[in-house]
Symmetry: C2
Subunit: 357 residues, 2 copies
């Protein structure tokens, strides 16, 4: 989405609140805990994230919570480059952690943001990232309630690393865990795979295609909320296939639940252009990261309804039934290929795509 498409209300302005004439770049003193740190926090972070819990600027935020199950998830984001088609490190840091909470069955309650800035980072870039975080958080319906900023010397970081940690409430009747996959369960996927990893790699490798391949980075809490609201505990497992891709996610589930998984290659949505890019890059799309997709493993009788619910959501229009859970070959994932043979889908070993998230 271009900046021109930004909804105007409630979002911070395009103009960096710390003008170039004042500080064109982040300096070590911005992390020293004195005046400059305070100015950065107030003029940039508070301006972008403004909400009642953040206002007191204390050592932490205090929130009222109901009794029950609280999900807690953390992720550090080190993606390179910082800006890529379909997103940037800021939106990714919000989406990724909101999604991790959603994969626990939780609706997000609040996020924290911890920045490690490299001396020399252009202040305009930081503002673009912070603004993108604010927009992503607003779209996902969650506030960034407390944060932290550190600055490291030039050459000891890489522009910016962001940690987001989120808390969320798991509604009653929702019981999501990888270990809950049971023989007979159906495996659904919310859409096309490999867009995120290929978008990042294309930029890094300087590849260009007829149309730009965009990251699928998106917050899945709405999609997951719709699924859980209707199906409750008939949803057994949720997983977002990020680093390591779909292959790693299904292997983790198979290992955790001590069940087998059988997948149909032809059922797995994959854009033709992304398939082509994977061939050029020498990648198997099953191992490429996604940032706006989820796997859902549901009770056998709930599959049809789950598929309809996913497809009714803007982020699940291309959702598909891609396989089932079996009692055979526990811990292993088998896939029937397009040409008919069956192969083991193994967990990724060794290096494939560093700094994809």
């Amino acid at each position: 989405m271009s900046d021109a498409q930004l909804p105007p209300a409630g979002l911070p302005g395009l103009q960096c609140p710390i003008p170039r004439s004042e500080y064109p770049q982040v300096t070590l003193a911005h992390g020293g805990g004195g005046r400059l740190t305070h100015a950065l926090i107030e003029r940039m972070f508070l301006a972008a994230f403004r909400n009642p819990a953040l206002e007191p600027l204390h050592d932490g935020a205090v929130l009222e919570v109901p009794a029950g199950r609280l999900a807690l998830s953390t992720d550090s984001y080190v993606v390179s480059p910082l800006f890529f088609p379909g997103g940037d490190i800021g939106s990714l840091a919000v989406h990724g952690t909101v999604n991790d909470l959603a994969m626990c069955g939780a609706q997000p309650l609040a996020l924290t943001a911890g920045f490690v800035l490299e001396e020399g980072l252009p202040m305009d870039d930081l503002w673009r990232i912070v603004r993108s975080m604010a927009r992503a958080a607003k779209d996902a319906g969650v506030n960034i309630v407390t944060g932290d900023t550190k600055v490291v010397d030039r050459g000891k970081g890489d522009g910016v690393f962001i940690n987001t940690t989120g808390i969320g409430i798991v509604p009653e009747g929702v019981h999501i865990a990888p270990a809950r996959a049971r023989p007979g369960d159906r495996v659904l996927l919310s859409g096309r795979i490999a867009d995120h990893g290929v978008a990042i790699l294309s930029v890094r490798e300087g590849l260009s295609f007829e149309t730009t391949i965009e990251s699928d980075s998106a917050a899945l809490n709405g999609l997951v909320g719709a699924l859980l609201g209707a199906l409750g505990e008939r949803v057994h497992v949720l997983r977002d296939p990020t680093r390591g891709g779909m292959a790693s996610a299904v292997n983790e589930i198979a290992a955790s639940a001590k069940v087998g998984l059988r997948l149909e290659e032809r059922a797995i949505p994959l854009a033709e252009q992304v398939r082509g890019a994977c061939e050029i890059l020498g990648l198997d799309p099953l191992y490429v990261a996604n940032e706006g997709k989820c796997l859902a493993i549901v009770a056998p009788g709930a599959a049809e309804q789950a598929l309809a619910l996913l497809r009714a959501h803007p982020l699940g229009r291309e959702a598909a039934l891609i396989g089932e859970v079996v009692a055979d070959h526990p811990g292993r994932v088998m896939m029937r290929s397009r040409v008919g043979g069956t192969r083991i889908v193994d967990m990724l070993s060794g290096e494939q795509l560093p700094r994809i998230c």
Copy 2:
């Protein structure tokens, strides 16, 4: 504390669980999300932090919480060097976030840990750090329940950065906020200032003294718990004077509560050796970071009892009454010096001590 003094029970062993013959250093593949990432998580992080919430190794942890006020705090640690007298980045990352929760009046419930590792970090160093985190968490009575590991290319990080985020419960009847400082309130300090910053700087600058100056890095939740348990809402403000030192902390409180603070320099505990080191390093100890001290602002009638409670705790033996809150000069901190004059204690401006935490 040397490794020999480690209590043996419940703590991970000295030996790095990933032997040098296998992987002497962290590689990019350890962050790729595949087999090596899983091996690192299971053999190192799970081995060190083992607890029931962490076991499922899902995208997040799920915890039962009572209804009430939840404190949430985040901090990224980028201290350089990674190991210093009195601690390391691992123990600091636990103490710092436990303390931020304590300064909200909360008892810690759980921590998250997010690692950004630089390719080439010796595996033995990582184990030493992880082990130190495990010990610090155990000592503070809190579990590390979920985490994340990323690896960045050589030259794009600095060994290891750690984010810890914590949640804690604020007991009923506890109301801590910088804005609650009121004229007449007493200002207490739990012990000697400037040890942490001077310990780090001494190592960086290659200074040596008769005895080694050690960081005061420690978890204050026990000390704060004792204070709040006895005095409840008569404790108005708690603050750990970390980055920016005591001067920044008292200025933040004065600004937030729109009150004045009047301090007595002679009452502020400071080790003779640390004072000397500050002179050599050209530092004002009031601006130097602490990692195991807290300021407590209490109702006038509670000061004596508060002081006795602090002094009864091993981490507060040298606690002192250092000043009071006044209605005059709101937003300003004045200090009566040892020689009798009065000066403004301003907020630190510009760079002083980068990467102290």
